[in-house]
């Protein structure tokens, strides 16, 4: 009986001490982690808006060039030249894809796209994050919906190339973009015309 009580006391005491240690670590690291996440989001928005910045001056560049606005619960970001950026998310082939879409002030063409999170196949699907691939979206008209075509075949102003060996990922990616554009752009347009 004494053994059993000792056993329980031991586990309780050790558990409490370790939990206290974790609370302390959590308390110390949470502000830093939140700051990191904020910087990651801000640099993603800056990249999408094609605003160049130094890695350690993200906060400054952001507050000097970008204004945060809200409309019906949609948060979006407006650059000085009128370009508008907003975060998007959706399901890729293997996991969520998240990032930022930037559109031009005419509400018809894309300015830029960034990807901040994806879990696609390394070397195949994950190539959607390559700058060359994302660069082709600049200037594309999205009002009719973006259309995916075979690699190197894009000609019309709403067509984008897929990637060899990553058809499923690029397909999912373009679907995510179309869905987010369709849902978010009208809300922003409403907010901006008021």
């Amino acid at each position: 009986m004494k053994d059993k009580i000792l056993m329980i006391v031991f586990v309780l005491v050790l558990g409490s001490i370790l939990t206290a240690a974790l609370v302390a670590v959590n308390y110390l690291t949470t502000p830093v982690i939140e700051k990191n996440e904020e910087i990651a989001i801000k640099s993603s928005i800056l990249k999408a808006l094609s605003i160049s910045f130094e890695p350690d001056e993200v906060e400054e560049t952001f507050s000097n060039n970008v204004e945060r606005r809200q409309q019906n619960g949609t948060t979006y970001y407006v650059a000085e030249d009128g370009d508008i950026a907003f975060p998007y998310s959706g399901s890729g082939l293997w996991g969520p894809i998240e990032g930022v879409i930037a559109i031009q002030p005419n509400f018809e063409t894309l300015e830029g796209i960034t990807i901040s999170r994806q879990e696609e196949t390394p070397g195949l699907g994950s190539r959607i994050t390559e700058a060359e691939y994302l660069a082709q979206f600049e200037g594309k008209r999205f009002t009719e919906g973006l259309k995916l075509v075979q690699p190197g075949r894009s000609s019309a102003d709403n067509e984008v190339d897929s990637i060899t060996g990553a058809t499923m990922t690029t397909d999912a990616f373009v679907k995510i973009l179309n869905e987010n554009l369709r849902e978010t752009v009208p809300a922003i347009a409403e907010g901006e015309t008021q």
């Binding site: 053994d3 000792l6 056993m7 031991f10 586990v11 050790l14 558990g15 370790l18 240690a21 974790l22 670590v25 959590n26 690291t29 830093v32 982690i33 990191n36 996440e37 990651a40 999170r117 196949t121 390394p122 070397g123 195949l124 060996g165």
Partner: protein
């Protein structure tokens, strides 16, 4: 008390056991899950190796310190909560100080908790040995794990991405071996490493 030379000899033996004879990956095939998952890039392998080594050290210290107090029947639970605590510490510190690496190996940091190397060393060594020996054992096993991970990662990153630690090594136009960047590449390379390691050490299946 053992004599000084005896203790030194013992320490050396403990160390060599960890880095070679009882090498966690070659000899015991422990910790394979994480070794396969994070060995695609050298940077990730180093971070993971450092994380595992830290958890081993902290666990070794605490378990060896408490070894006379830990009731036999709850020793497994004790290992678990001790290991889990330090793994969470590693995860938070990585997130705070190295967000990029944390992003890359994120889910696998949590899996250090179930990394059999740590549980295995706690049960096989730390619960029976003094603090000094336990710490040496922790360093040795952590080093053994890390150098294997890094060697696998060097091969995989070189062939899969054409880079080492992010620097372009292979000439322009090099065709990347996609399979190396994916999980199957890890199986091939790790199997070859285990084969070489075991042949060199003269280990044989019984």
């Amino acid at each position: 008390m053992k004599s000084a030379t005896g203790a030194k000899g013992q320490s050396l033996k403990t160390f060599l056991n960890g880095v070679w004879r009882d090498h966690p990956i070659f000899s015991m095939i422990l910790g394979i899950c994480s070794a396969l998952a994070v060995s695609n890039k050298v940077e990730n392998a180093i971070a993971m190796g450092a994380g595992v080594t830290f958890v081993l050290l902290a666990t070794g210290l605490l378990i060896a310190m408490l070894r006379r107090l830990i009731p036999t029947r709850v020793r497994m639970i004790t290992y678990m909560i001790v290991i889990a605590t330090f793994v969470i510490v590693v995860d938070r510190v990585l997130k705070a100080l190295f967000p990029d690496i944390s992003q890359a190996i994120g889910p696998y940091v949590g899996l250090i908790i179930t990394n059999c190397i740590i549980m295995g060393r706690a049960e096989a060594f730390y619960i029976q040995n003094r603090i000094g020996q336990s710490l040496i054992d922790a360093v040795a096993n952590g080093f053994g794990y890390t150098y294997t991970l890094v060697s696998v990662a060097v091969v995989r990153e070189l062939l899969g991405f054409g880079t080492i630690l992010g620097f372009q090594v292979m000439p322009e136009g090099f065709t990347k071996w996609v399979v190396m960047a994916m999980a199957p590449g890890a199986f091939f390379v790790l199997a070859i490493f285990i084969w070489i390691g075991r042949s060199l050490a003269g280990m044989e299946e019984e």
